[in-house]
């Protein structure tokens, strides 16, 4: 951006040695100076609001701060009115274990025994399209710093990814860059990558979704909040130096749609240095251990603008900062650029005068650069000076919290009814539905080799899942499980899910289905679901159709959280994911966190003990709309599978009890790809075959073999039960009135998956089909 001319030639000459500084005094004297608010992403009404708040025109530096902090990315101005439901639809029971809720860097949940866990999922979509490696890498970096800011040691990451069509030439660019970026950054931090998702769909071609989740653990007494309290306490910036990267990342990149008419936005993407971040993690943990900081905030979107205004407005309300004290990578940066820079690996903290020496000793030990910028005041004003001259004088709340809020118009799209009426069953694409054994076998092989259902080893083998020595389950198991306490075995489980096709067909229920699947995945691992974080990826909120999708999704998700009794503790909204007027499928990615009292009891997704009985829990209807099978046949229409949250809850309780009491040795949830995908995955997990008979359960549910295998009916799972536990297990299901059908046995010697009366496929053949797809496209 360009700084503002002061108008006076003598003054200009004086400060020409560095910048033309637009001071508050100057701004008051020169009300009519043209300001580049539109280039910075502000709308006319928003600029007018800034002038009204200040009672004068903003200085160049103030304009920079307001423009980034009032951007869609930072202010949630289009979604705020809807997001409130996550805070209002909460019972006292749901609040019981919530130590820190929405609004802080990340929510914190009580795990018991003095332990707490914090987790959050965020988007880094736009930068990852522009520059996949750095975009994805800094996505990890940013979410990890959010976790550190809470006082926690980060212990794992996950990455839900959605890219364009697998055979589109640009998909390889994004795939290679994003996966290498996630690996390159995450692996260097020593954080195991324990799961995620990989979906290919042409709707994400120009708007890939790169979401990142991090989870951290801490003792209760270590919880830190982002606030600057205590007059006279010092404000310090530490970590990497501030450079020219990522300027306007939040306002320009993340808050607009891409189109071909604008210049390249590469300079708005940040560049990451994982080594600096790893050192920063250890350094912060040492600060926490010594209780050396009063408040702490990471620098992410909107950089110093965000950190100073949020720290000040969450604390006693005042802060004075000298901007020339910021250590720079590029000495030519203007004050506005310094305020907006999104350079990575930086933190801001508030330190009491007594702790200054101890703080500096920790910095010296880890060779981390730091500079003291100023101090906390009780004036209620955020004052930023440049060589002593005041360039920012604002009420920090007006920057951080009092941004514009829009009630965007929304309406059910005109095409929604026709879309929902176009069901798969009976459609042209449903012609020749597989019925013979031979055709069903071919369909199973086609399904498990398809882009969305194939093995994701090509991706996950580039991530370190072992580091830390606490990973008890990781991809491809249903949930990632990490031990928290080595003495007791206390641990957490995490899963993320979304289905853009379901949500496109029905945003309200689609969002609920995402929650239901993540909940089911966590319960499948044996963990008790406790909390939710969501990353709401949508198109432009200025399109009433998209706004309706967003509003319906939030309403559906918040209702379902209430019904399942697990609160949303944080998350992120990513809007403007569209190319021209074509938005992505609405993609609310839902992460559920669960707790295991003893990680030793966790349930893996594959069977390995010969002779164990395999049960199918739940019932199957003809629900192929939006399914992977319909997708493979090029059909998208109708209504997604029915959501029955009471059934999800009942199934979850069965899976959790079975795990705790040793009644199951394997469990796998049924979701995309239905029973067919689940049977194959559970067999391949430990390379152990099974004999399956489907006739009885097909007759019970009134469906044919193909429908039983490919329908995506919800609230279902398969489990492997030791013979000695069968009676206890079936009694439990009966007592809870939950359908459980014995569909087969584990057959270790066979080396094949035998669907009796249908076909038998050697595991080697299944594995080859399952694992060949990603290497074929990506090398």
């Amino acid at each position: 951006m360009s700084e503002i001319s002061t108008g006076s030639t003598t003054e200009a000459a004086e400060s020409a040695k560095k910048f033309n500084i637009d001071t508050v005094e100057n701004a008051a004297k020169t009300p009519d100076v043209e300001l580049p608010w539109a280039e910075l992403g502000l709308k006319q009404n928003e600029f007018d609001d800034v002038v009204k708040v200040l009672g004068r025109r903003p200085t160049g530096a103030e304009l920079a701060m307001y423009s980034v902090m009032w951007s869609e990315h930072c202010s949630y101005k289009s979604s705020k009115n809807h997001l409130r439901q996550f805070g209002s639809k909460v019972t006292e029971e749901m609040k019981k274990d919530m130590l820190v809720g929405i609004g802080e860097n990340a929510g914190v949940t009580n795990l018991g025994d003095g332990w707490a866990v914090t987790f959050k999922i965020e988007s880094h979509n736009s930068p990852s399209f522009v520059e996949p490696y750095q975009g994805a890498a800094t996505g990890i970096g940013g979410i990890v710093r959010d976790i550190i800011s809470m006082g926690a040691r980060p212990v794992a990451v996950m990455d839900p990814l959605r890219f364009g069509a697998i055979d589109h030439p640009d998909t390889a660019r994004v795939m290679h860059g994003a996966v290498a970026g996630i690996g390159g950054y995450g692996n260097s931090l020593g954080l195991p990558n324990i799961g995620g998702e990989m979906v290919f769909d042409a709707v994400y071609q120009g708007n890939p979704l790169v979401n990142a989740l991090a989870v951290g653990v801490m003792r209760h007494e270590d919880i830190r909040l982002a606030n600057a309290s205590g007059k006279g306490n010092k404000v310090v910036l530490f970590g990497a130096r501030t450079g020219g990267d990522g300027i306007g990342g939040a306002s320009v990149l993340a808050s607009e749609s891409f189109d071909d008419t604008k210049p390249s936005k590469r300079p708005a993407v940040q560049v990451g240095d994982p080594f600096a971040e790893k050192v920063l993690i250890e350094c912060c943990l040492e600060l926490f251990k010594g209780s050396l900081v009063e408040g702490i905030q990471d620098l992410g979107a909107a950089g110093i603008s965000c950190a100073t205004s949020e720290l000040a407005s969450n604390g006693d309300g005042g802060m004075q900062v000298e901007l020339t004290s910021v250590l720079l990578r590029d000495p030519t940066l203007t004050p506005g650029e310094i305020l907006m820079s999104e350079s990575q690996e930086r933190m801001m903290a508030v330190v009491t005068p007594e702790n200054i020496a101890a703080f500096e000793a920790v910095m010296e030990k880890w060779a981390v650069e730091y500079s003291w910028l100023g101090e906390v005041t009780d004036t209620g004003r955020l004052i930023i000076t440049w060589e002593g001259e005041v360039i920012v004088d604002v009420d920090p709340r007006t920057v951080a919290h009092d941004g514009p809020v829009y009630d965007r118009p929304y309406a059910r799209p005109q095409w929604q009814d026709a879309l929902q009426a176009d069901t798969f069953t009976g459609s042209v694409q449903d012609g020749g539905r597989p019925a013979s054994a031979e055709d069903i076998k071919a369909a199973v092989l086609e399904l498990i080799a398809s882009p969305n259902m194939c093995s994701k080893d090509w991706i996950t083998n580039q991530y370190d899942r072992y580091v830390g020595g606490n990973t008890a389950l990781a991809f491809p198991d249903d949930a990632g499980v990490v031990r928290v306490d080595e003495e007791t075995g206390l641990g957490v489980a995490l899963a993320t899910d979304a289905n853009g096709r379901y949500t496109f067909l029905d945003p309200f229920h689609g969002a609920q289905l995402a929650l239901a699947e993540a909940y089911r995945n966590v319960a499948t691992s044996g963990a008790v679901p406790m909390a939710v974080s969501d990353c709401l990826n949508f198109g432009s909120p200025e399109d009433p159709d998209v706004m309706w999708q967003l509003a319906e999704s939030i309403r559906g998700l918040s209702d379902a959280c209430m019904e399942l009794g697990i609160p949303v503790t944080g998350g992120n909204v990513s809007l403007y994911n569209q190319t021209g007027t074509t938005p992505i499928h609405p993609s609310p990615v839902v992460a559920v966190l669960g707790k295991l009292d003893d990680v030793a009891r966790r349930t893996p997704s594959g069977w390995k003990e010969d002779g164990q009985a395999i049960y199918l829990l739940g019932t199957t209807a003809d629900e192929l709309d939006g399914s992977e099978w319909a997708n493979l046949r090029g059909h998208l229409g109708g209504l997604p599978p029915k959501v029955v949250l009471s059934a999800e809850r009942a199934l979850g309780e069965i899976l959790i009890n079975a795990s705790r009491d040793g009644m199951v040795d394997a469990a796998h949830d049924l979701s995309e790809g239905g029973l067919a995908a689940a049977l194959v995955e559970s067999s391949l997990r430990y390379n152990t075959g099974a004999r399956i008979a489907l006739d009885e359960v097909a007759a019970r549910d009134g469906v044919d073999a193909f429908t039983l295998l490919f329908s995506e009916s919800q609230a279902r799972a398969i489990v492997a039960v030791p013979r000695s536990e069968e009676i206890r297990f079936t009694d439990m299901c009966t007592a809870r009135n939950f359908p459980a059908a014995r569909i087969g046995v584990v057959d270790a010697a066979s080396g094949s998956l035998d669907l009796q009366g249908q076909f038998s496929v050697p595991l080697d053949e299944l594995r080859e089909a399952h694992e060949a797809t990603l290497p074929k496209y990506f090398g």
Binding site: K278, Y466, G469
Partner: protein, 250 residues
């Protein structure tokens, strides 16, 4: 209910309680990642883990040293190239070369540091497929007479995690021939060569057998349920080996 041991149960290989007095140092550099894992492995083997800081000037009376994996100094310049200049590395090099023959194990980045410090020959370059690779890797123990491998049988196959980007072991032909002739190839990859390493070499030892380096991670295969799927604890033998060595004065 099942014959598979529960996660977290250590089924074998724990040395006698008398050895808990053995002090094994674990070095932390800026960017080290697996230091806590290595310390856990030392504890589970029955010894006392001692934290060592790269900037320290003395070895704190440790009986052996583990240089763990990670990305010390971000692998900038070249993996291990900066870390070798740490003050503590000079003490480690001196102690390893002294008559006392301090046992030193370098894992992954630790192996890279040992080659940079010239305690072991050769070097590691980027994997031949140019990607980071994390997998459960089968290794054959080629030399079971070193300070870190004597708990294994000669030719025993073990499964431990492998995870690196720069894991391709290289050396000139003369060095490789000498390593083979002197029995200094400690481990070889079995089944597949995951990174293009010369002669499938996964780890080597110095002539005296007190310094061993390898790319795979034995410290991630010490507890049932937290390591490779089927075996799980094959890596514990490294840590019981060094206790045998200390006990027997080998």
């Amino acid at each position: 209910m099942t014959e598979t041991p529960l996660i977290g149960e250590v089924s074998s290989g724990v040395a006698s309680a008398a050895l808990s007095g053995a002090r094994i140092g674990v070095v932390t550099f800026p960017g080290t990642l697996d230091d806590r894992d290595a310390a856990r492995a030392v504890r589970l083997a029955g010894a006392t883990a001692v934290e060592l800081w790269h900037g320290d000037n003395e070895l704190a009376d440790v009986d052996a040293v583990v240089i763990p994996g990670g990305f010390s100094y971000g692998d900038y310049l070249r993996a291990g190239a900066i870390s070798r200049f740490a003050p503590l590395m000079s003490r480690i090099v001196d102690a390893a070369n002294s008559d006392a023959k301090l046992p030193v194990l370098g894992i992954c980045n630790g192996f890279q540091i040992l080659t940079e410090a010239h305690l072991l020959p050769g070097s590691m370059i980027k994997n031949d497929h140019l990607k980071f690779l994390c997998r459960d890797q089968v290794l054959r123990v080629e030399n079971n007479t070193t300070a870190w491998t004597n708990a294994y049988a000669a030719g025993q196959e073990i499964t431990v995690p492998l995870k690196n980007q720069d894991g391709q072991y290289i050396a000139d032909e003369k060095t490789l021939d000498a390593l083979e002739a002197e029995g200094r190839v400690a481990f070889r990859y079995v089944g597949m060569n995951p990174n293009g390493s010369r002669r499938d070499i996964a780890g080597i030892t110095n002539a005296a057998g007190n310094v061993v380096g390898l790319m795979p991670h034995p410290e991630h295969a010490i507890e049932v349920g937290y390591g490779p799927d089927h075996t799980g604890t094959d890596g514990l033998g490294f840590f019981t080996s060094v206790l045998n060595t200390l006990l027997g004065g080998k």
